[in-house]
């Protein structure tokens, strides 16, 4: 069974991208990630030693079933520091909010 964990939420304000970090607790595996559509996502595990995604383009995929939209990978984690960068693609309104989620297993 899976759990959904939000690891970033922000509105990027006046900049085009934002870096974030998140420390994983209570989970043993990460199975996938997804974020707000219309962005690029980079994710690195093990304190940047293991880059999992490099400018992965997350599109708005309304024609794809919601369960198939995340990018899937399997990785064991334990007290890992996850670092990432989310970059907006194109123009957004100031009130737009951007989020990054991980799909985790205990």
């Amino acid at each position: 069974m899976y759990s959904l964990v939000k690891i970033y939420q922000g509105n990027l304000k006046n900049q085009n991208n934002e870096a974030f970090r998140f420390t994983v607790k209570d989970y043993k595996k990460v199975c996938g990630a997804f974020c707000t559509g219309g962005t690029y996502l980079s994710l690195a595990f093990d304190n940047e030693r293991d880059v999992m995604l490099r400018s992965f383009e997350q599109r708005e995929m309304m024609d794809v079933p919601p369960n198939k939209r995340p990018v899937f990978f399997k990785r064991n984690i334990e007290m890992d520091i996850i670092k990432g960068v989310i970059t907006k693609k194109g123009t957004f309104k100031p009130k737009d909010v951007f989020s990054v989620y991980l799909i985790m297993q205990k």
Partner: protein, 133 residues
Amino acid sequence: MAEKVKPKFIIQCIDLLITSDQVHELRDELDKDYSHIVGIAISDIYCSKLSVLEVVKVKGLELLPEGFEAAHVMSSLAVEPNKRFFSWFKPMPVSGDEMVIRFRDPEYIKNYNLQVQVLLTNNPEETINVLFG
């Protein structure tokens, strides 16, 4: 007389008229004959992609993280109806509990009827295998 066979899962629809760009609250008691929530979907062509599910809770417990973008649970008509559910969360045990959803559409233009569909089952593992297949 043959005993009535209960379906393995059920889709419960929770509706509310959206009348502004402010937070709207949907509340409904979940079908007490089913033990787990395993999926959630919004199928509404008027609901903007910037809409937010501020809160999705049952028994005070979060089903989805706060401020979850509704776009993640929305699909176009090109998606098969049984594939429109979002299920990347831990199936939540329920027993006729009340579900509370706080919804906000910042790009609201005109009134529309929002329908949130909740997938309930007594056999989460089997139903999830179907959803992910």
